[in-house]
Amino acid sequence: MTAAVTTVPAIGSGGAAARASRWTAYLIVAVGALFMLAPFWFMFVFATHSHNEIFNLPPPLWFGDDLLTNFKLLTERLPFWRNLGWSVYVALMATVLTLLFCSMAGYAFALMEFRFKKPLFGLVMATMLLPQFMNMIPMFMIMDALGWIDQQRALYVPGAASAFGIFLMRQFATSAVPKELVEAARMDGCGEFAIYWRIVLPLLKPALGTLALITFIQSWNNFINPLIVMRSLSNYTLPLALRSLQSTMNTEWGALMCGSAIATIPLIVLFAITSRQLIAGLTAGAVK
């Protein structure tokens, strides 16, 4: 489960050549890190400049003083707080529903026996390989048939049946929940729901945490689904609202950058707090 950190021959040992190669490694990795961070830097810098300052030669490299003006413009042109609120709401709902449904189903797949268990799981896994674009039109049609066009539930309900979520839960449940424990509880007269709620769920906590993070991040960043099913500006989530702002004729790029920065910050904060957990969970799943 936890990858043991292997001991690799320390490059520090050896002479100047080894030290030089160590410093080369540092340099290359550092340049890589700067490469990753540079666009974010500009996003935040541009968020504090006016449109004309951004589209100037040379472009600004340090912060300006137009942040408040940009924010004011942003809220004038978009129902920004509503959009932000919807992003939060949809992401939370998606997380809660996904955790609930996937943990229930993952537990069942891992520790219970029932007809068609294997083929059903195979089918679910097969859909993971389905390219995203297969869903574009069907998603629209089914939401249309249900009358869910332009409603937020169209955004968080379908994803609750996440194949990846089931995969993760089942994997984890198989290894973290001892079958004997469940049997024992059953023999003690514990109800099925109680077993799930009081015994299985707590044992699944790490996987739940990882899945929660992944679901929240994916829901927050989701652009295609809202693009297909949402139709009113006041119902848009952030990515869609930002794109709508970008496609106006008279785009205010300062405001747009400000909006993009605000859309990015919550995830950066969340990620900063939970990065270890998230990466460990993801890579553990992948390494298997």
């Binding site: 990858a3 890190a33 472009p59 996937c102 189903a105 219970m112 859909t127 390219p131 297969m134 992948a286």
Partner: protein, 301 residues
Amino acid sequence: MTMKLPRLSPKWAPYVFISPFLLLFVVFGIFPLCFSLYLAFQSWEPTGGLKAMEYVGLANFTFALKDAWFWKALKNTLWLAIASGVPQHLAALPLAAFIHTSFKRLRDGVIAVYFLPYITSTVAIAIMFNALFSQDYGMINAALAQLFGMEHIDWLHDVAHVKPAIAFIVFWRYVGFNTVLYLAAMQTIPGELYEAATLDGASRWRQFFHITLPGIKPMIFFGVTLSVIGGLQLFEEPFILTGGKGGLQQSAMTSAVYLFREAFDFNDFGGASAMSWLLFVVVALLTWLTNLAFRTRKGKQ
């Protein structure tokens, strides 16, 4: 938790537990897919309402196969998938190796930074790069002019340059992700292998090629498969950077963007559905070929 739930017999429990998931899966996963297949055989003018569908047999499929734009979009998609995918992995492998061997204390911080592009909203990133790639006022042209004396390139409106620009953005987005994946895999290679090799006098390069790479082969396979599938369904970056249109001469129109336009701009849902199934065949084929490629190489070993 004092919930008074009805007593559930162990016999029925599994079905109850999987039913919410199953319901959603059927309603939002299976059924729409079947309907999409059905729609591929219909001609439908959407503004006439649902009753306006009529059966047209294979007409949508033959239309798609004869349509020059369908093939153009496919070519664009393949180009972008390769141009953004290959560098991702070529850069990620050595980067992962460097981090693996050199960074002990700062490792978590470095990993977090490398992962950051991956978890950021594509829309925010595309908007960002839209400004950076501006012909007259963009940072990238300014830097290129400063460093290499190059003339300003119209990255986003020039047929020859828009695809490289998009490939660059996709590369930026995923190279860190792949680095972290490979790093995780490298950590599972037993240290004794390296020690033995060093004792034998093998250089670091040889160790990399003969121990590290083979050791993380499954992860490479996983990463490449993800890139193949991801590259073939590329939508958001080209969509945002070309204002949803696919760029000049449709040079940045990927298959997914074309699909979207066919359905939502040109209102041809039947044709778009047929196209999506044809594309699915392509993706399945390429995924299978990737699978094959890795298996053969494994066999050779």
